[in-house]
Symmetry: C2
Subunit: 493 residues, 2 copies
């Protein structure tokens, strides 16, 4: 019977033979967004049924480093203890820039003003945090320390618009497992609140009534199709579509430039987005990906020079690696090189799949070994070195902290080729939603009874070139709570 | 009463008080796609009602140059008479490349095999064509001649995959009014076939029955809401969303880099796309724009060198200007320059808004006047000139026909800045459709009774970097016919 349902077509109420279960709020997906929605809704007194396709909680969130982007209001305890005062306006402006040409001002404002309270909420749920800070540009340090620089805050053009400050907050965890610790705490809290959890349950379709409002959900459990009634609403928090190659093809063709699979806990098939679209929800910015190239660590490589296969630079290398990767993918070729000298070279991390492409005692030798015409790479290095020696970068405004002349032989070009180096990605596009989680049509109308959160929605992070680590989990947990509460409130209307 | 309807929400059949009119096929929009749909449906014996928001036919199509992209099967009469043999496979391969990472192979195949017949069909409708050819790279020549090179056929990388050939076919027209002549012929044919035409009529919403099939349309006419029943189907051919700033913001943020309004006959508000989405249709590649920079004519400027504000080249300048414009918009800055020497300089066309930014007796003087660091622009010119003198471009593989050393002073940099020069655009994203025009959900299911054509659909042109002039009107007319016929056939099922 489940064959006859589709996430792309709502099930009319008249086709529901009877309700197998009923709750104020139905939540689809038990990652960070779904867990946060469940906690907030349950605490408001609503009854919840939570459906998860996997056999346990966590989703893609649990595989992440666990970084949450927080600041404002003078700073979190970790920021303040380490000497960073973070004004709400700087936090706001940075996130507006990071959101790109269609940054959601209302959402960013609410988040900027509420992030400190949200941090306290996370602690209350049992997420463990130290107040320690790791300077530099660490990526998933795995030390259990908290505060890291996780974006482009100190890089042009961001530093010119907003006073820079590190804002990535990692849970105290063993190794690179912060996401697991975060989800473990949220899961325990969901269980303690008595939420009715259904694992191994796949959502098949939304149920709509005659007025077009969402009033339930069709699921399949152990081969049985079941009908669940939502008195308040259905929260869609099934993640993005990083594993749905058909959707990637239609919506995010940038994926074709990449070799690796999307980052996912295994179920980012876009089903939540499709269910939202099936009732008229607009899916926006579907072409945007989080995309990165871990060309650091080693941190010293930020002092290197990135060039395309014409020998030209195209970005300030001290921007967040996710921003750098997008400018790589905007160039016409597929081959890219990080130029390093003996002073800054260290073995690249193994997972980055960055190999040495050419070495030489002069940059001319490297240029020739790469098969580039004479005067291309060499001219770029000459201009870079001349200014870097003075701590300047007139072309791309790289910060002086990361500038040094690349003049200590031997020299090397490290291959950062698209399709060869490791370019992990996940999707940023999703359903257009209010900060309340209410799903919107293209002309801004609210579709009653359906909410979206996490990467099923197009949230705070919606522009790959502006993404900073921690923005997605920040959005998942903060706006997951809002969506859960909105759905709960609708049940008591 | 019309206040209560929305293009983003279908009207349930149960809300229809009664039908004001009825036809086998309802068509929304009387541009090239709608006219072609009407002709084909009427010729098959179906009754048609055609609704157009404007007071006359034509839409955005009538404002175009009228170029239609045609070839294959050995060549059109204009191609053959001018010595171009155009094999179907070359035509097919070029269009596959032009379609980009998600080119629609089935659609391209059908078009490649049917384009010659389609050309004959256009002639039969009364569209006038000569068999004359204008060599070089003309843009809207306005001479009444037919065949022009309208894309990147002779440019890298296209020329390497498909034997090049000019394929743009212009109607015989007075001045740059080919689109008007094309639409005039199609309009007369629609009228001659007795189609029931309703001008000054705005479509408000689709009507859906209990099964979710589209069975009618709500329109407003002289302030009166009317309900039209479709026995076969509704064809949506209302154009794109080049004038809908809200949709552009949500879907195509590239628009923010541009100063000018979208190219439109005045009604590209995305209403057809929104109506399709309201019944579960997937709108795909909504971020893709046709975008161009008319840096030629004068044609001699193709021999110039385009650089960004870092002094770097980034594209072979002999590619179609639309492809060039996209690579401009992919760079990090907003300032771009076309470098010319005395031998190739001519006054840019007035509408291009390209001004002289700097002049000098040496390239060093130009570099200094532009405020670029020493050794940037000069190094790029040196590499370019050294190879161009030998007819080579190892970096970007510009064709030797357009290569010459820029070594005859005085030299100039012409400003092609985004937001200052003229960058016209229209939208390429739209409803996902079968070649039959049937609208699809995200998981590929057909939504019964609704069809889309022209820029309301995502058709042949779906990748700004590959667009060639004539592809949109080719798609509008060819697949408009298919959509009309599909809807007509459904009425007799």
């Amino acid at each position: 019977m489940s064959e006859s349902f589709s996430t792309s077509r709502p099930c009319p109420l008249s086709d529901v033979p009877g309700w197998d279960l009923e709750a104020d709020v139905l939540i689809v997906g038990f990652g960070a967004a779904g867990a946060s929605a469940a906690i907030e809704a349950a605490e408001s007194g609503a009854s919840i049924a939570l459906f998860e396709v996997a056999s346990g909680s966590g989703g893609t969130s649990a595989m992440a480093g666990g970084d949450i982007y927080l600041g404002g209001n003078g700073g979190t305890s970790a920021q303040r203890e380490n000497g960073f005062e973070d004004k709400t306006e700087d936090f706001f402006r940075y996130m507006m820039m990071a959101g790109g040409p269609d940054a959601d001002e209302e959402r960013v404002r609410i988040y900027a003003e509420g992030a400190l309270d949200h941090h306290e909420w996370l602690k209350t749920q049992g997420v463990p945090y130290r107040n320690t800070y790791i300077p530099g540009k660490p990526v998933m340090p795995g030390t259990g320390d908290c505060l890291i620089l996780s974006g482009s805050e100190f890089a042009w053009p961001f530093k010119e618009e907003a006073k820079p400050c590190p804002r990535g907050h990692l849970p105290e965890a063993i190794g690179e497992t912060g996401g697991f610790f975060l989800l473990d705490a949220l899961t325990q809290r969901v269980q303690a609140l008595g939420v009715d959890i259904h694992f191994d349950t796949r959502a098949l379709a939304l149920v709509t009534n005659e007025a077009g409002a969402v009033c339930g959900l069709v699921v399949v459990q152990a081969g049985q199709t079941k009908f669940a009634r939502a008195r308040g609403g259905v929260v869609l928090s099934t993640g993005g579509f990083a594993l749905n190659e058909e959707m990637l093809r239609q919506y995010a063709p940038l994926r074709k430039r990449l070799a690796d699979d999307g980052l996912s806990g295994g179920y980012d098939d876009g089903s939540g987005i499709r269910m939202g679209m099936s009732v008229g929800g607009a899916a926006i910015h579907m072409d945007e990906l989080f995309l990165t190239l871990p060309f650091y660590p080693p941190e010293s490589h930020v002092k290197g020079m990135l060039i395309n296969d014409k020998g030209s630079r195209f970005i300030n290398e001290d921007a967040y690696a996710g921003r750098v990767a997008h400018f790589i993918a905007s160039q016409i070729g597929d081959q890219f090189y990080l130029l390093v000298d003996d002073a800054i070279f260290e073995q690249p991390s193994e997972y980055s799949k960055i190999e040495i492409a050419a070495v030489g005692e002069t940059w001319g030798e490297v240029e020739a070994e790469l098969g580039m015409p004479a005067g291309t790479l060499v001219a770029s290095v000459e201009v870079y070195n001349r200014h870097a020696a003075r701590g300047e970068d007139p072309l791309f405004l790289k910060d002086s902290n990361w500038l040094k002349a690349l003049d200590e032989p031997p020299f090397a070009a490290l291959a950062c080729h698209l399709k060869e180096a490791y370019y992990p990605f996940f999707t940023l596009g999703g359903l257009s939603v209010q900060p309340t989680g209410e799903v919107l049509t293209t002309d801004g109308g609210v579709i009653p009874g359906v909410y979206a959160a996490g990467r099923t929605a197009c949230g705070l992070p919606r522009w790959g070139k502006g993404y900073s680590s921690g923005m997605s989990l920040g959005d998942c947990t903060f706006f997951g709570r809002k969506a859960g509460l909105s759905a709960a409130r609708r049940s008591s209307e």
